[in-house]
Symmetry: C2
Subunit: 556 residues, 2 copies
């Protein structure tokens, strides 16, 4: 009798759930729930309370609704019986956090607080806590806190303490009223199991926690704000659970809601990018996993701790047991191509796409694929949304160089793809220069399935073979794998994620093998990329920042 | 009884003729003749003889046809009698040159030679003589010829001796067979009057002639090629006539063809950009005339000879009597906006243009005009077709910097306009730094009439008031003015071009006054433009050239 596990990936616009056969990872059923309130960035739902710029909230009711809708649908679609579901795993965007009361109820669900935007879930891309992030960086540098070096030298406005401090600064009553500030991943696990089981991944990557050193000192938090001194003790928890551990069993209430068996094992929560690593078959060093979509997350594990400048973070046990987990990233990839298609592509290209009933990206890809390396004479810097790694600078901007009166849209399209490949290559080289070797690349996410040219360009630019994860739902598969690990071998699951990956994770047959001739040509062009990268990115010419200052001033 | 003169502007695709009242410059009638063979850049007309890349020819029969069609039409339309036409002037693109026999017949009109492309008219934008231009520059530099300094340090592939030397190199028989090599302007005058009256403008700007020093030495030409030693004596003429002189009277044959009176005075030929200066009312120093279309020509006169790096040329009496005439230029302006509209503007903008029945440029201009200075955060280098002044480098290419995921097409459009304005400002500043003061700007050509935003941006960037020539046919008006000067005061015309300009040239009422606040903001952005200009344009980072080399190699 086959056993099954369920993985749910809580994304930005929707939650995607899959039901997977434990013995071989076969995806038996899929269910998607699109959040009713989606990304809240204009008005609080059902009110005329307007949000400030850079705000991005979610409604936690959407998460519960997702559980209620998707899990029964998985059972219905597959015909699998509830007793054959041996485990559940979930992953979440991060840092996505919320204030809750003693009972675990989000403050935004209480009449008393719901009109205050700070009572809602702050989504990962809520960018309004930049002043707090600046303060954290300033104080950390002043105090010579050594944790900054594990985060590429900079704490982000997206992360936990920036958002927590913003609540304290702007809504002290909400801060006061919150019994807990908690990551979305951990809140769902709390809902499912009734237990607060904070995971090592978000704690490590977003909240400065380290298994050996714990959280930063009270002195540090006091230096940020005296009221913030005891944030960890008062609003969080020092009990951190490692990935692969069982958080608990499904509560009676949640069993009713989801139609699963009470007590079904639930794994400790995880983050979408991190959970994708074993789902892409990677369980050891030397292999970089790229989660490729609107942006790219670059994930690596290594036995050694290396402080690599400009990465997002390195966390012990942050991705896989027994390894240091490294995360780096590019803040816009698919987003750049989407911008280009929306703003820079003539109508005749869309007409062709319509006529042939194919996507506009296919039209551009097809035309771009006829170009030889270097034929366009174009070179771009992929900084349309700043640079996350390795410059860690949101104020950088995009550059296109080499245009002539003969330049065609498909040439620009290809130059933009190449620019993002150069950006990834720069990250790879930075890892290697700092002692972390990368032999192969593993890709998952939406882009690799949609754009073969892009994958070939990445292989040619980086000079490395690229394999593609077989699942098109890599995070949900990874969560299901952790669900099977939470169940344990004795219940038909696995002892650890390595074993689960051996059986449940697969690759497509397709390989992207670097073309040596193209790689050599790209080396030449990359040398020019790197020179511009350093010229504009490392302070030699601050024109991008100056233009942003002028832009800001023009709006005042 | 009013007197009239006729001006004909021989352009790239057509000839534009106007009939003008001499006393006040009123344009009484207009006639346009579109050349049947247009620009010949693929096959010789009526043959399958294919041209090499970068070739651009014309058929001289088109010029004669233009005379035959337009002049009678002017008479018909206006009802003016032939005896009231006191003079004719013509201007031409340049350097546009052709080989002719002893009778003045173009070699391409003779069966013996017509299958050889070198027997045809080489149009100004025939760029296939680059190897010859390189040779001229190399030899001139080796021999330390001082004339190069009058041409911004570089002789162009478009100019007379490059083209002549190409004929010698590639078609020695044509070179041999040619009794004369002659500019199109001078050939038309020869046709009209039966007299070879080479003009000082094309001789000076395109053929290295100087009223005091004459042509370069025989030694120089011999160093280029021993067969080229006597090119001036054998194929040209040392008799050069100044602008404003009368070339002769209309021949009987031409009188029949045009229905004008035999003996009607014909002015010495001129060049489109140069003839526009007095037609834009400018007859002295301090005022720069910009002929604004696909590219911009910047024309100045000054009492002193200044050697200004990177201009196209300075020629004594090259524009107006008694002055040194300066020419500089930008190789692409309107061409960049046309490229942008063709390659980078989404269909919805065209839909709006269609719906409102306005030009697509109006839609972009309207949207761009709502942007404040600096609001887009974009900055461009206007080098889509290289840089003519002041870098004199065809291998430079376009750059756009500052793009974000929010960047809109109208923002890029405005940034491109601003980039061309910065390019003009750089030219103005280079003139001023070398002692030629520029107080005001005068614009003519297609762009000023069509794009008010562009004109205001030029005023704001340069901090100078801009006036617009009243005539939309400035070159033809200028030619008609020179026609009236050729007639002389005694025949109802004028003694000189200054007097003609006082009466016949006018400005529109409209003035573009620089906005001081915008000018100050633009100064900041221009400082960034200038830094990038020097960084990419003066050898610090040769990335544009390297990319062009890679591009070239990719096609081999």
């Amino acid at each position: 009798m086959s056993k099954y596990s369920i993985g749910i990936d809580f994304g930005t616009e929707s939650a995607r759930a899959i039901l997977v056969r434990v013995e071989n990872g076969e995806e038996v059923a899929t269910s998607v729930y699109t959040y009713r309130d989606g990304v809240i960035d204009e008005f609080l739902p059902g009110t005329d309370i307007k949000l400030e710029p850079d705000w991005a909230l979610q409604n936690p009711a959407d998460y519960i609704e997702a559980l209620k809708e998707t899990i029964p649908e998985l059972l219905n679609k597959s015909g699998v019986r509830e007793e054959d579901i041996i485990g559940i795993g979930i992953d979440f965007t991060s840092c996505t956090m919320l204030p809750i009361d003693k009972e675990g109820t989000p403050l935004c669900m209480l009449d008393e607080y719901r009109d205050n935007p700070h009572s809602w879930v702050k989504l990962w891309k809520h960018h309004a806590a930049q002043p707090e992030a600046d303060r954290i960086n300033e104080v950390a540098r002043e105090r010579k806190e050594d944790f900054l070096s594990r985060y590429g030298g900079k704490y982000s406005s997206e992360w936990f303490f920036s958002k927590a401090l913003q609540i304290l600064n702007e809504a002290p009553k909400i801060y006061q009223a919150a019994d807990r500030l908690i990551e979305g991943a951990d809140w769902i696990v709390l809902q499912l199991t009734g237990k607060e089981r904070r995971n090592s991944c978000t704690a490590g990557y977003k909240a400065l926690w380290d298994p050996e050193r714990g959280f930063p000192s009270k002195d540090f938090f006091r230096a940020l704000d005296p009221r913030f001194e005891n944030v960890v003790d008062e609003k969080m928890s020092k009990d951190i659970y490692f990935l692969g551990e069982k958080a608990g069993g499904l509560t009676t209430r949640m069993a009713c809601l989801t139609r699963l068996k009470r007590g079904t094992p639930v794994a400790v929560g995880n983050v979408d990018a991190h959970v994708s690593v074993p789902a892409a078959t990677v369980t050891g060093p030397g292999k970089m996993v790229m989660i490729m979509g609107t942006s790219i997350c670059h994930m690596m594990v290594d036995k050694e701790l290396r402080l690599i400048p400009g990465i997002c973070g390195v966390v012990k046990e942050g991705i896989l047991p027994g390894y240091y987990g490294y995360e780096a990233g590019q803040s816009a990839v698919g987003d750049i191509f989407a911008w280009f298609v929306k703003n820079c592509v003539p109508g005749e290209y869309f007409e062709e796409a319509n006529k042939r009933n194919i996507d506009i990206h296919r039209v551009l890809e097809e035309r771009a694929s006829h170009l030889k390396v270097g034929e366009s004479g174009l070179l771009a810097l992929d900084w349309w949304n700043g640079n996350r790694s390795v410059l860690v600078d949101a104020d950088l901007s995009g550059l296109l160089l080499g245009a002539t009166l003969e330049t065609k849209p498909e040439e620009i399209y290809r130059a933009l793809i190449e620019a993002t490949a150069f950006g990834t290559y720069k990250i790879i080289n930075t890892f290697e220069e700092n002692g972390v070797k990368i032999r192969e690349l593993y890709a998952c996410g939406g882009l690799p399935e949609r754009n073969k040219l892009l994958m070939q360009i990445y292989a040619d630019v980086t000079g490395r073979e690229i394999r593609i994860a077989a699942s098109s739902q890599t995070p949900a598969l990874g969560s299901a794998m952790f669900g099977a690990v939470a169940a344990g071998k004795e219940n038909g699951g696995y002892d650890n994620i390595i074993e689960a990956a051996k059986k449940m994770a697969h690759l497509k047959e397709e390989r992207f093998i670097p073309n040596e001739k193209n790689h050599l040509l790209y080396q030449k062009i990359y040398a020019e990329y790197e020179r511009l990268h350093d010229y504009f990115g490392r302070g030699e010419n601050e024109v991008m920042k100056k233009l942003k200052e002028i832009k800001k001033a023009s709006k005042e």
